[in-house]
Subunit: 357 residues, 2 copies
């Protein structure tokens, strides 16, 4: 293992220290427990948006803290859930009184800890509501996860809900919006190589010289199948076709009712994509794949969307939700409407995503 | 070799096609000869800024075409210089009559072809002036290069000169500014792994499991030495100390005199960095190194600059001048003054660098 690290035990902390030094105008970092938060927090009357998850997926989530996106991000150790105390302390700092929306990727550890944090926040008089993102169509039930995993749509939800919070949506409106984004998004990824977490010191899984993992998770969880390495066009087609042809997906998720302080069950359905739909197309690097290759994937994705009558109205191409230095990519298609387009286009000022300001 | 490509022969073209599809509001792409140019070109009375070089370093240069930065970028094949016809045709399209500044990284092929392009442009009545960037302190004379190579400072020069052109600097003022940036910048890089150009299909050099190459070039050119892999702090110190302690560097470069249509020799000197200097600190990924590791490098760089009395007034952290999927990083320190800070902060709207708009 050759990495630009010192002691693996200090990897997350030192990386956060460097990030704090690089972006003092945008963010502050609280240590023990660790969380990144907006330098100008709390913002009066604004619902705060918090996300979090294991480290190793940078820039997600810390790189998305700032105006028009997240108010705070809670990083765990590499590929390990953050803990409830991180989420609670972050909520205390960024809550203006208007409440907190936690955007949570569907991994069992993250879900459990964010649930505990919502309950703790309630007991301290903070309205905190968790909305899950479970957009990875590759597999249902997986290592670490019950149901579908949360991947690329998370970032789109953070951008869109962040803009809405900035524009004055209240907590209930934001929860409705975040749920809508989750029900409009589908993703799938592919790994060409494995990756090596610093503390482990060896690859999290092995892939043969000519093998690729279709439907990979962002922690190296197994996907649908291993196949022989093929062309970019064929790999793009496997991902895009799986997404475009995914049928209606219904499941029951738990949500915290901030009025009564109890968990309630909510049934959600992602309708299938249909000819004529407008979509945001997101081609994401798993970390080690160069931008030049992502554009080759995007090129083919455009053709496939056209063939299926999908209109790409916005796009995002780059390394945004990564798995350390893993080579590979993921594709996310998010069905868009006027509200989502307006919120996507709204100004954002974070370390990793910035426009309009 | 596992990459998201189709036919290696079509790698550059397909990547450009994807890029064009992703950013129609920013750029257009001309094929045969290939160049990327601003969608709103030419801009009346504005000097046009062109750069170019081998592909495989994305987002450089195509990702920097847009408002406040480049007017056009000429991509060669991977790690191969673009040709004079690309540069000439690009100049014809983006020249408003105010002339063209070519920002050229110091590699023999790039220099020769941009020189030929400047002469051809002159014969067609276009004032085109080339300013070289030769900021890589690692070695003098190297594979592909006479003198020092051009690396990280190139991007800073493109941003700064791009802002100045947008603000109305004329061609002579821009040439002076670009020369000043080149005389204010120093860089050095380190490779943890090699990389594989698609057409070659195998790594461009071999590195042992515990070896790193100090002073690597962006095409894998040998650096100063190979050493045993060590900590991020030590690797950062090797790079930063080499840059900070680099003595005055003088050399003679050729420049085109657009008045008389002849080459003239210009002597340039980079003064050494001194206690009290303000700098822009740029930590760049060679492609395959995750952002989290770059922040660990940046953290140590801040400490080393403080120790030496250098004040970091601006920074840039991310993958901007890469060598495909190579793991490693480079550090650039650019001495800043009020003019450079103001131009750095000016709005920029490109695929890879965007703020203020």
């Amino acid at each position: 293992m050759k990495k630009l690290i010192n002691n693996p035990d200090n990897f997350v902390r030192e990386s956060l220290e460097g990030m704090a030094a690089a972006h003092p105008e945008l963010i502050k970092i609280h240590f023990d427990p660790h969380f990144i938060y907006r330098a100008d927090t709390p913002l009066q009357n604004k619902v705060a948006i918090i996300s979090g998850g294991g480290s190793g997926h940078e820039p997600m989530h810390g790189g998305f803290v700032g105006m028009g996106m997240l108010d705070a991000a809670c990083p765990g150790e590499v590929f390990t859930s953050p803990t409830p105390d991180q989420m609670l302390e972050a909520a205390k700092i960024v809550n203006s009184g208007a409440g907190v929306l936690n955007i949570v990727k569907n991994y069992s550890g993250d879900v459990m800890n964010f649930e505990m944090a919502a309950e703790l926040a309630f007991s301290e008089g903070i309205q905190a509501l968790n909305i899950l993102i479970d957009d990875d169509i590759a597999v249902k039930d997986s290592l670490y996860t019950q149901g579908r995993r949360g991947v690329g749509t998370t970032i789109l939800a953070e951008k869109i809900c962040g803009a809405a919070a900035q524009q004055g949506y209240n907590l209930k409106q934001l929860a409705d919006l975040c749920r809508k984004v989750n029900m409009s998004g589908r993703s799938m990824g592919i790994a060409l190589t494995s990756c090596t977490p610093p503390a482990k010191g060896s690859p999290i899984f092995e892939l043969g010289n000519q093998e690729i993992e279709v439907g990979i998770g962002i922690h190296g969880e197994p996907g649908r199948q291993r196949i022989t390495f093929t062309s970019a066009n064929e790999m793009t087609e496997i991902l895009a076709t799986s997404i475009i042809e995914d049928s209606a997906y219904s499941r029951i998720l738990r949500e915290w009712d901030t009025q009564i302080g109890e968990w309630v069950e909510v049934e959600l359905t992602n309708p299938p994509l249909r000819t004529g739909d407008s979509v945001l197309a997101f081609v994401n690097s798993m970390g080690g794949t160069p931008l030049s290759e992502l554009y080759i994937v995007y090129r083919q994705l455009v053709k496939l969307c056209e063939q299926d009558g999908l209109k790409i109205v916005r796009n995002l191409v780059g390394p945004y939700i990564t798995a350390l230095e893993m080579q590979g990519c993921s594709i996310t298609l998010l069905k868009m409407d006027e509200e989502l387009i307006k919120l996507w286009d709204a100004p954002v000022k974070t370390a990793a995503l910035r426009w309009g300001v």
